[in-house]
């Protein structure tokens, strides 16, 4: 057990009936950092978040909070839950007013009425929701409901805030508001934030570290360009058909068998001209996202499928790449990892 870690998961396994949905040997979360958890639907993200939020007891394994093991029984369980708050993707609003919903967790902690009122006013003001205070929480739109759920979580000032796809299905204005708040509470309060997202650009712009989850396992960071499809043969050449593009692969697989592949972003060469090379895969597309992070520039290229590519800042500047630039992506068949 590492006592410097805010949260630590060891040998966590979880089953629904007999189906394994989660198997994590070790996951360590440092205090005050923002983490993103990415992965396809059904890979176990929400289950993992519920285990970290102490609202789901794992079938096996141990969970440590600030070095102390969390037991799923007794008063220590409630105490642990009061340090970690989950904001779910489709939040449940209690059948009462917005104010009462936001106030709920403070009441659970026995906070005095006057202080409760002040804190609710403060958080509603922060989220520009003051006008909603007296409205029935169930009569709000999806975006407003998500903001109220966030308000209900952050008002508790938890040590760890777990956000499950909270910007999914929201319009750009609400996404901007939520992203600003996430950064703000992390910076001002030092809250550790773990968020699941489907949006890689959001994961990289907000998070200090990105984890990938696939089939219930944490996989090496860099497992991007994750595609779902079926294996095919054309002229005896093994291909992987995503439904939009056909990618050459090195290994032969049973025809028509469904599966997943991934390609490391750093294994993809970016060129502004069409190169003739021994690499079997060549696709053209346009740059739709540019994220500079430390010593790397991450590009998202729309080439019928969205590819993530990583280049150095000097290459990025020398090539004069901008949003909308047309580029060619080149990678070897052997760079494609069949999962």
């Amino acid at each position: 057990m590492d006592t410097t870690m805010h949260l630590e998961l060891k040998n966590i396994k979880h089953y629904y009936d007999t189906k394994s949905v989660l198997s994590i040997d070790l996951l360590q979360i440092e205090k005050g950092k923002i983490y993103s958890l990415v992965g396809p639907n059904g890979c176990g993200k929400t289950t993992l978040l519920h285990i970290m939020g102490v609202i789901l007891a794992p079938t096996g394994g141990e969970l440590f909070f600030e070095g102390k093991k969390i037991e799923h029984s007794g008063s220590r369980l409630i105490a642990a839950r009061r340090r970690v708050t989950v904001v779910p993707q489709s939040p449940y609003m209690f059948d009462t007013t917005v104010r009462a919903n936001v106030e709920y967790g403070l009441k659970a902690r026995g906070i005095a009425k006057k202080e409760r009122e002040n804190r609710v006013d403060e958080v509603l003001n922060l989220l520009k929701l003051t006008a909603f205070a007296k409205r029935r929480a169930r009569n709000l739109s999806g975006g407003e409901t998500q903001l109220i759920a966030l308000a209900r979580g952050i008002i508790l000032e938890p040590a760890i805030l777990l956000l499950d796809e909270i910007t999914a299905n929201l319009d750009a204005r609400h996404v901007d508001t939520i992203e600003t708040i996430i950064r703000d509470i992390n910076r001002r309060r030092g809250t550790t934030i773990i968020m699941t997202t489907h949006k890689l650009s959001q994961a990289y712009t907000l998070a200090d570290q990105v984890f990938s989850l696939f089939n219930g396992r944490i996989v090496e960071s860099g497992m991007y360009n994750l595609f779902k499809g079926a294996f095919r043969f054309t002229n005896q050449e093994p291909l992987f058909d995503t439904g939009k593009i056909a990618i050459h692969i090195a290994q032969r697989h049973e025809d028509d068998k469904a599966g997943h592949i991934s390609i490391k972003p750093e294994d993809i060469i970016v060129s502004k001209e069409q190169l003739h090379s021994s690499a079997r895969n060549l696709f053209s597309g346009t740059i739709v996202t540019i994220i500079q992070q430390g010593e790397a520039v991450h590009l998202e290229v729309d080439a019928q499928e969205h590819f993530r590519v990583q280049i150095t800042p000097s290459s990025f500047h020398e090539m004069g790449l901008t949003l909308g630039t047309r580029v060619f992506l080149i990678f070897k068949a052997s760079s494609v990892h069949v999962l």
Binding site: I55, I78, V84, P88, Y92, F94, D95, G105, A108, R109
Partner: protein, 230 residues
Amino acid sequence: MDYLIQGFVKALALIFSFDPEIYGVVARSLLFAFASTLLATVVGVPAGFLIASKKFRGKSIIITLLNTSLALPTVVIGLLGYAFLSHRAPLGFLDLLFTPTAVIAGEFILSLPVITILTITAVHAVDTRAYITAQTLGAGRRMQAWTIFSEARFAVLAAVVAGFGRAVSEVGAAMMLGGNIRHYTRTMATSIALEVSKGEFSYGLALGFFLMFVALSINILVHYFQIKGK
């Protein structure tokens, strides 16, 4: 048809004459039903909540028995009550037979399963996300339970109103345990049975209107709570 129309006119006349006999019966019926429903609520709602929210052996058997008791004829409850309360019966020493207490006890037994089983259904109908939300917001066990109860409150109110409906309209238990004694244990339902058997059709019809009015009010209330709960 004339017979029916005459009865209807006479019934209206009786209602608007504010006949103390009729209004006395109505008031007594409502009082008995209110008292028995109150008792059945005090027992049935917490019992229903516990049965719905706990896992234990025999739970499905209890639910099956409660469902079965919904279909129990009221006269059977009256008969069983009589068997226990008559002078030579085990509880005869209490001297409760043909008293308002006996009528209330009979109506309590009839409305208890209605309230309990509908409370179980109400709690089961609460979205499972309500539990998870209460937990992640740090609620203790008591607050979690109160939250779930609060979320089910309209359906539970509908259960109580349905229990009242069962109590106010029953005739078998009130007749057998209360004895249909004038100014003492006579209720709307027992009075209708008596008056019609005497050939006093209009009197029975007037009481029938009151009973229908009560039943309609109850149904409107149940519907209102069901709509509120959605």
